[in-house]
Each structure stands twice: as C-alpha cells, then as structure tokens.
Symmetry: C2
Subunit: 454 residues, 2 copies
C-alpha cells in the first residue's frame, strides 16, 4: 500500500471513529477520498457508504464531478435525500445542481424525495441568476418579532440549533409580523440584553439607530454585495426583497468563496483559460477550452502576419527589419498588458467604470507615453549602434513611441468598453489587445522603414 493511500486511510478512519477527536474538514475529506479512489475503488465505495448523511452532504459539494458521479450511482437515493436535507439551503441548491449536470433524472428523483419546504426553498433559490445576491443567500435565519421576550427568543435559538436547523448564527433579525426586516441585533449585543424583558423594551433603553441593518436586495449584483460587506466589515448581511421582506442572509464564508473564485476566473479569463473547464478532471475538457482561445489567437496572429507580408519586399532588401520587428511588438504587448491588468482589476474592485474613462485613459496613456519615449530612445540608440545606421534608430524610436502609446490606450479602453456592454472585462481582452499591439507595431515599424529607409 502506498504511503499516500495509507495516510489518507488513517485520517479518514480517525474521522469516522466516534471516540476520536480528529475531525477533518469536508474539503480535506474529499481530497483523501480522491486519493483512495485512485488506488483502491472498492475501499473508496466502502468509505462512501460509511459516511453519515451530514458529512456526506458537505463532502459531496467538494467532490469533483467524476467522484460525485460515484456517489449518486453507489448510494441509495434515500441517503442522498437525507444528506441534501441536512445542508443549508444555498448548499443544498448547489449540490442538486451539480447532480443535475451529471444525471438529470436522478436529480429529479432526489428533488421529489425532499420535503415540501425544502423543495420550495430550492425552487426559489434556483430562480435567481448567477450574479444575483439571492443566489448566494441561505434562507435559514434566527428571527423574532419585537414583542417577543428576549429569553423566549433564546430558547427558540436553542431548539432550532438542536434540531440542526440553524448554524453559524451571528445576528438576531427583528421582523414585523409580515416579515419586513426592522433591526439586526448582533449576538454580542443580544447577550447583554435583559432576558426577562421583551426585545422592544431592551431596544428602547438603547439607541435604536445602532441596530439598523445594512441590507441588500435579492436582485442586487453580488459584486455590489461584496463591496458592502467589505466597506462595512460585516460578518453577515441580510437579504430583503423590494418590499423589505426578509428572505435570507449571506454569510462571510460565502463571500470568501465568491472573492476567491472570481479572482481565479478573472486571472484565467485574462490568460484565455476557462475556470470551469479546468476543474474538470479530464484533459479533454480543459484542452478544448484552451484550444478555443488558441484558435482565436491563431486567427489574429495570421492577421498580423498579413501586415508583415505587405512589406515583404522591404524586408527582403533590409533584413535588419525582420530582426528588430519582434522587439517593437513585444514591448507594445507588454505595455498594453500592464494597462489591461490594472484596468480589469480596478473595474472588478468597483474603483472605476466606463464613465471614468476620460481620467483613467489620461493616466494610462500618460504612463505609456512616457515609457514609449524612454524605451523608444533607448532602443533607437541600440539599433543605431547594432546596425550602424542612424535612420534605422529613428524608425524604431518613432514606431515604439506610437505602439506603446496606443498600447496604453487600447489596454484601457478594451476592458472599459466590454464592461459597458456588460461583458466580463477580462474575457478575451488579452487576445484582442495583442492583435492591436502586434498589428500597430508591425505596421508602424515596417511602414516607417519603407518610407524613410528604402
């Protein structure tokens, strides 16, 4: 037995042992199961069967598609239904969606097995778009009406926690009888309340304004929600509908996950990689998604080749041009990528938008103009020395100046424009940008050379 396998086995055994205190996180548990499956399929299914419904749900969410497939094929539907019911509503919705992507009929069967309340919650959460706050909320809440005695609310909290209905509670939400959200009381305040008095009496003795919550709408963009959570250092934010009715809450860990995965998505999009396809365990999925962007890049590279081809006679009569032209293109590409990365990131952090284009362009074009001047002169002198031809130095200096300056312009305007049309500013902008910088670089350099040198 390999070291890797026996280590994974030992850790899971400890986790399953009721007398042991070694608990694994769902993520770690999923990782170890993956290791075991790679070595010993049978042992793997026996472990799957031994997981209790509560762990099973948490682990299933963390499993890659191929392993989740085993879960739905190996385990009885009743156990999976139970596992889904043990999850918080947002996680239950996600898990059911993952299962649906593998086997639609199975997902339907499992959904039908859930109790009516769970079904209704999942249906509602699924009605939201991916970028709506509602899609990230959980509907399990600790709430009370103003007239309730504080102690009674606490007793209810105990019951709900014991029944496994509530986890990670950090606020008590005070609602009207029609569920309109009035106040949010952090537990660090609630614990100081007089338990024998009503919530209303307790609030009266303090400044009610301190308990006005920061809320978000279920239809709000999740990016804006992240901004609010960050600006106000919130642990949890209540979600209400347009009438102010309390629907759910978004917790800090959901925000974490969103920040991490959107940073990954952005970095991958910039590089022409699909974050979803990369999560796939097979090479084919990831390879196909990357090939798509390489295909686009090939097309644009051919376009810039055509531009070079327009000047084939010039190059034939002066080969130094072929030697130097990659430098102009490369420097333009780099300058543009710098402006692009800064602009994409600042858009995603909510620092700038299309209406700021003027001031952002001023800044970016100024920087690239200055660098264009500096590196144009440096490269001009180098080319002059290298090929002992002063005019060649002037040509490369001018073309670098033009290319770097326009690279800064396009590196800024491309993502701002994509954002304006509600397209992710990172998607494909890198390929579009280098098309511009290559074409402008080759055209300005070879064109100037044709006019001035030959």
């Amino acid at each position: 037995m390999s070291v890797e396998l026996s280590e994974a086995k030992e850790l899971i055994d400890l986790h399953l042992d009721e007398h042991s205190t070694q608990e694994l996180s769902a993520y770690d548990l999923a990782q170890h199961l993956k290791t075991i499956k790679n070595h010993d399929e049978e042992l793997y299914s026996s472990y799957l069967k031994r997981l209790d419904p509560e762990s099973l749900g948490d682990v299933a969410i963390e499993l890659p598609e191929s392993l989740l497939k085993d879960v739905i094929e190996t385990l009885p539907s009743e156990k999976i239904v139970k596992a889904i019911e043990e999850l918080e509503s947002d996680d239950a919705t996600d898990l059911l969606q993952y299962i649906e992507e593998i086997d639609e009929d199975k997902a339907k069967e499992l959904f039908d097995g859930l109790d009516k309340d769970n079904q209704a919650e999942i249906l509602r959460l699924r009605s939201y778009d991916d970028d709506e706050a509602g899609a990230y909320m959980q509907t399990e809440l600790f709430s009370a009406i103003l007239a309730e005695k504080t102690g009674d609310a606490v007793v209810r909290l105990r019951r709900q926690k014991e029944a496994g209905e509530l986890e990670n509670v950090s606020q008590l939400f005070i609602i009207e009888p029609d569920r309109t959200l009035k106040f949010a009381i952090p537990l660090e305040e609630l614990i100081l309340f007089d338990f024998s008095k009503s919530l209303e009496q307790n609030l009266k003795s303090r400044d009610e304004e301190d308990f006005k919550p920061h809320t978000v709408l279920d239809s709000d963009d999740i990016h804006d929600v992240v901004g609010i959570v960050e600006d106000h250092d919130l642990n949890v934010v209540p979600v209400v509908d347009s009438r102010g009715i309390l629907l759910g809450r978004i917790t800090a860990d959901d925000i974490h996950d969103f920040i991490q995965s959107s940073a990954t998505e952005q970095m991958y999009n910039l590089a022409g990689v699909s974050d979803e396809a990369e999560e796939d365990d097979t090479l084919v999925g990831a390879g196909r998604a990357r090939a798509f962007w390489l295909m686009i890049n090939l097309c644009t590279a051919i376009v810039s080749s055509f531009i070079v081809g327009m000047f084939d006679e010039t190059i034939a009569s002066y080969v130094a041009l072929a030697v130097l032209m990659p430098i102009v293109a490369s420097m333009g590409g780099n300058t543009g990528t710098q402006a692009l990365a800064v602009t994409v990131r600042r858009i995603s952090l909510g620092e700038i938008e299309f209406s700021d284009a003027k001031s952002v362009l001023k800044r970016e074009v100024s920087i690239s103009l200055i660098n264009g001047l500096i590196f144009g002169v440096v490269m001009g002198v180098i080319a002059w020395m290298w090929f002992s031809k002063p005019l060649l130095g002037v040509v490369i200096m001018l073309s670098m100046l033009i290319n770097l300056c326009l690279a800064g312009f396009f590196g800024t305007i491309i993502p701002l424009t994509l954002k304006k049309f509600d397209i992710d500013p990172a998607v494909g902008s890198s390929v579009v940008l280098t098309t511009f910088t290559d074409c402008i670089g080759f055209f300005s350099f070879l064109g100037l050379a044709k006019c001035m040198l030959v």
Copy 2:
C-alpha cells in the same frame, strides 16, 4: 460648485450631523474627502478638523498617501494619538506604519504619545514579517478562565464594549491562568449557557470536544491561515504562540482584505505591474515600477532578436519566414501563458506545490502537446496553401509542435521553481516565460527552415 463636490459635501455633512442616521463607511468617507480636496483645499481641512478621533482613525487608514500627509500636517498630534488609540491594535500598527513612511519623526512623536500598553502591543505586532499570521491579528480579545461564572464574563464583556475596548466579538476564549488557550465558545453557544453557573460547569454538561478551537501559530504563513479559515468556514481564528499562549485573533474582514489584495498583487505581478506603486496617486511612481519590467522585457526581446539575427541570410533568401515567424512565437506565448496562469493560481490556492511537479507537468505538457499537434497541422496546411510550398508547411508544423509543447513545460516549471525558492511564483514569470517561448519559437522555426528549405 460642481455636482461631484456638492454631493460629497452633502454626504459628509449628513454623516457629521448627530441627528442624522446617515452613516458613511470609512472607505466612502475617505473617497468623498478626496473629491473635496480636489476642488477646495480649505473646505477639506475644515472637514478633517471636524472628524472625531474614532472616525479619524478609521478614515486615515483608507486615505492615499498624499491625503494622509495633510492629516499629519494639519491636525494636532494629540488628536492623532487619540485616533490611533481608538483603533484596534492591528489597524493602529498599520496606520503608524503608513505615517512613518511619510514622516519618520512624526511617527516617533505619535508613538511616544501613546500609552504604555498600546506601545507594547504595536511593538509586538511590528516584530512580525508581512506574511506571518501575527502581523494580521488584533490583540483585543474577549477571554475568561474556566472557573469564572458565565454571568460575570458577560458583565465584563459589557464593560469592555462600553469602554470601546472590544468590537466584533464572536467568541469567548477560555484560557488557563497562564493564558494558554483551552476552548473557544461561539456566542451562539454562550448565549445558551446557564449564566448563574461557571463556564466549567456549563462545558461539563456538553461535549467539550465541540469547543476545541482551530488555532494558528503567530509564525504561520498567512496563506495557510486563509486556507484554514476557508476550509472550516470560520468567522474568526485565534492566534497562539508555540507554547499555546493566546496572543490575538484574526477576523473574517482581515482575511477578506488579504484575499482581495493578494489576488490583485498576483494579477499585477503576472502583468509586470507593482500593486504598491499603482496605489500611488502620482504617475511617476506607477510609471517607474512599470518601466522596470519593460526594461527587463526589452533585454529579453533583444536576446530573441539576436536569435533571429543568426538567421539573417536564411530570411533574406526566403522572406516568407519573416512573415510566419511571429505566428510561432505568438502561439507559444499564449500556450505558455495558459499553463502559467493555471499553475500560479493553483499554487496560491494551496492546491499544488513543487512536490506535485511530476503530475502537474504531465497534465500541462499533455494539454499543450495535443494543442501543439492540432495547431501545428492547421498552421502547416495554411502555410503550404499560402506560399505554395509543402516543405514550409512541414517546417512550421514541427516548430509549432516543439514550441507549444515546451511552452506548456516552462509555463508550469517556472512558477513551481520560483515557489520552491520561496519567491512569489507570479513575479516576473510572465517575462521569463515569453523569453523562452520567443527564443524557442524563432530558433526552432528558422533553424528547421535553414536545414530543410534553403
């Protein structure tokens, strides 16, 4: 008065008005102050003077360097000292550091004005490296010993909160008399305790194991801390030293900030941009940092030019080579960037490290080999048709295959190696990578052409 200015003025006025309930976050307040300063310097200083010490500290942290400079030049030192004392220890340490970067003497004067406890805490927090958990913790804690009556601990919480010593409390930390951390009790559990009994009695009636906290060491890498917080969906994590003594806690909002800023740093590093220099308000700082990477890129571009120069006679006798060679380089660069982005991100998410090199390389090289084959054949056929020369097609096909395959290899091995030597895998890896892909692309294409065509 411009719309922008009057809007900012109105919002700040509302914020400062004690009868109004409109509160701005420190971040928004800082943004509006920036707007006002751009329009009206005098109005700006008058607002600075009107901020109470508590808001002042929070806002000062959010201000860009040039505006923070105004704060330390305009306001009396006593007020700034008070503002620093109002902050949590981690924020106080940060603010003092920002001030030190502007004016060392002033920072020393302010530090000397702090009370002894604050001084000691700041000195300790400053002793940590930037990537150590200790640098991110705050030392303000709600703690108690086992023998204490639960109700007494709660009374102490009230007193500490009223004195402004504690904020965002979500757990009670149970310590030994020597401050060794024993348990962490979430407030959602503490509120269910019998207040008339000691904490020990309350714990006895439950499963003590449930209250064993996930801890991190003050010397732990902050990246690992983020991993633990994410895996276990924590709101707060206690920090202990090697003997288990409780030192402080790291809260979810600090983790948020860290995740966001390290994603920005990574994206910027990949593009050859410095995140610190970009925060600077002046163009010079940002421009200089970018110029550094452009300079490195210029050097590496000249190296690849030399390689092209080695084949100047081949190119002179066959200009189609100059037309096609940018395609080979561009496709190699893109393929490598895909592998690079995926590897850098997976390293930073803790999914892979150097010891996984073999399996990661296998995956990445396989993908780029397959794409090399596909695009080699496609481009081979295109080149053959375009220049009616079958051998030229074979040359570009082989060189694309070589270049894309090696691009996948270098895109993976460069960041893994940097990480192995404890260097940020994103820094400069993009420039180093394109040096390889350009050189290999030009050398393989022109070299093969020289052997097979001319």
